[in-house]
Symmetry: C2
Subunit: 429 residues, 2 copies
């Protein structure tokens, strides 16, 4: 379909051969079996796989109704969450929502900055506000602290009863501090399914509610994910783009390519890159292995780390993320005197030039020794984003199994927390 995302391994020649793809295929088959038969490591967290086709119509309607209610009574939504309860939402909103739009979704609880909270609360002092706090446990330090402070702010502004109608908790079905708090105080709740880990949760209420508040069509998002699910069922490197991408990146990793750069050509994709970075780093970076995922925003970063990509240590591969449909807002105006010598571009729209920058960059980096592939989105839409989310989730699941790790756990994230709780005197540490 012309409307589907696609994957082009256009510049891996000489780095990844058909023989190598054939050679890794039995491993891909094995990873596929582990995943589809649900008997691999982490198999208690596979709820994201069927989610796009099993998601409940009633739930979608409830999310949409809640979003309408939030929008009708507030100028701004504060979305409190961190990691998987933050990045996917922000990725969708920054990609699809106008940069300087008046009605805004703000984020809190994703750091420990008192200054950020102060400036946010100052900014929202005279506005009507709703809050969506997102935490499975309710005890994650950053969002829990932010929620205490922002809940106080709402209660001062609206009174206890008024605040009650403006706070929505997305949390565990039954247990945990946030669930208990919501029950006690009468806050509305949405459920984070037990079988979906944080970084795979963007298409649950975790992401869907705040995304809907930004006027993004969540049904299109789900439709996209559903179509991509169907497009990635078959264990075939040519027909299943997740499997092709997973195979290529593992072949490259085994040959010494340690760093993967996701390079987009659209500054609104910055947080999509951040979401990808968590998904890939947390799924694969363990057991002393894992490709190091990092991102570039082009052409901006061609004037920053472009030099290193072109001529630095050859331990890099690159994955471009481009949007096909052109934005024709601005064409380069003609100039009488042409002092800047840009008249050769007069009448061309910026996006056309941007796309030639992509063509040139992918070829130049390849020739410089950086193999690269490209993910193409036909357009920037909720449907394509849904496809992209699912494509990347499926890719990293297969890729993780290919490299012999459990792509669904994150045992290393406790190390600093344990030390921090001890330093802070948390009871029990």
């Amino acid at each position: 379909m012309g409307n589907d995302i696609s994957f082009d391994p256009n510049y891996v020649k000489g780095f990844v051969s058909q023989d190598e793809l054939d050679e890794i295929f039995p491993e891909v088959q094995k990873a596929h079996d582990l995943l589809e038969n649900k008997n691999g490591p982490g198999n208690e967290f596979l709820g994201w796989m069927d989610l796009p086709e099993t998601i409940d119509e009633g739930l979608l309607r409830e999310i949409e109704d809640t979003a309408s209610d939030i929008k009708s009574k507030s100028d701004a939504l504060i979305c409190i969450g961190i990691g998987g309860s933050y990045l996917g939402t922000r990725a969708a909103i920054e990609l699809l929502y106008p940069e300087f739009a008046r009605q805004k979704v703000f984020f809190a609880g994703h750091n420990l900055s008192g200054e950020h909270l102060r400036e946010l609360i100052n900014e929202l002092e005279d506005k009507d506000v709703c809050v969506n706090v997102i935490s499975k446990s309710g005890t994650t330090t950053e969002p829990a602290i932010a929620f205490r402070i922002i809940e106080d702010f709402l209660i001062k502004k609206y009174g206890t009863d008024g605040a009650k109608d403006r706070i929505i908790c997305t949390t565990d079905r039954k247990k945990g501090a946030l669930k208990a708090m919501a029950d006690k105080k009468g806050y509305k709740t949405f459920v984070i399914p037990d079988d979906i880990g944080g970084r795979y949760s963007v298409l649950t209420p975790v992401g869907l509610l705040p995304i809907a508040c930004a006027d993004i069509n969540i049904r299109d998002l789900i439709k996209g994910a559903k179509s991509q699910r169907e497009r990635s069922l078959e264990c075939d490197l040519e027909k299943n783009m997740s499997y092709k991408y997973a195979a290529i990146r593992n072949i490259l990793y085994r040959k010494g390519k340690r760093i993967e750069i996701l390079s987009d050509f659209d500054y609104k994709m910055f947080f999509l890159g951040e979401w990808w970075r968590q998904l890939f780093a947390e799924s694969e970076g363990k057991d002393s292995k894992g490709i190091f995922p990092t991102t570039c925003n082009l052409t901006t970063d061609l004037h920053s780390i472009g030099q290193l990509i072109q001529q630095g240590e050859r331990n890099i591969f690159e994955t471009f993320l481009v949007v096909k449909k052109e934005d024709t807002t601005y064409v380069v105006p003609e100039s009488k005197d042409n002092l800047d010598k840009l008249n050769y571009l007069a009448g061309k729209d910026l996006d056309f030039i941007n796309k030639r920058a992509y063509d040139a960059t992918s070829e130049a980096h390849f020739e410089g020794g950086v193999p690269n592939t490209t993910i193409v989105m036909p357009e920037r839409s909720a449907f394509c984003l849904g496809q992209l989310f699912y494509f990347l989730e499926k890719t990293v699941a297969i890729s993780g199994y290919l490299s012999g790790v459990n792509p669904f756990d994150q045992p290393g994230v406790e190390a600093y927390k344990t030390k921090m709780f001890k330093l802070l005197g948390k009871p029990g540490y």
Copy 2:
């Protein structure tokens, strides 16, 4: 002095020994001689070295007067530039200027997004605007296109004469398209010195004018750089923190640490990290070598690539960037029912908790196999930022010489441009 930045190699034990430091010292001495005697590769671009003490009082006054004039007649400054004509300015402003401040500095010309320009121009339609366009040549594609479009916007808004008083060009002293345009149209100009490359130019008018427009004291910035210059003259690993940092990173690189993560604990340091990334990548990433520089914003990214840093491939080292002075805006409020179990933090300010997160993270990452050092800023001030800019410039100059490259050129950035110009039909390509 309690007011100076410092460098703590607190967690390199077992990764970098005193013997190794002694062993690399003769190379540091050689790099020092090349730099101070100005007879190393790239010695035509050493103007940044003495800049803090030679910068002209008249120039500073002219910058301040121009900034006052801009502020008096406009609600917003659009700053047009890319790479070294963009990142240092944005780093300073985002670090020291309130996030939601009303009078804003906006950026353009750092990408090829028509949508960004449209949204920016929509946002500024009803505001009074000045423009500072920054380009040595005036023909760099991104800023040149943005300037054509924004110049048109200003002329439509204010007429040719009105626009004339609102456009300031920072460019070459004599040659180039932007200089010719400014002369012909009567735009005010500031000079980018010939002997200072883009990524080392933040303390020239490139950065100083827009930074002054954001009410940041540029004399403090220069004072900081001057004091740091004096603190980094001696070739001594114990007394000269630039040399210590350069030595440690080269020792680690030679032992297989391919990736350096600059991890800050302040979301306002994001663009400082971006500036550092260009400075380090462009200075060292060449001749098929170079540490891969990347950044993390903590604690945000502990919930993203934290897992990989803790337990992934052990080819990483980390450089923390922390601010000592606490922001005591918010303390964690007491809660009667303590359902989120945070009362053990009640009365503690957020910054205190953030600092314990740093303590815990640096120790946990070290124990996990990631050697790390810390750059400490006593406070977030223009003076300390000036010190930091100069410290990092000096570090990378020495570090580049240590790894045998020319830290002042960027030959690889032309590769994609040549291809792009050909694809776009630029005359002569």
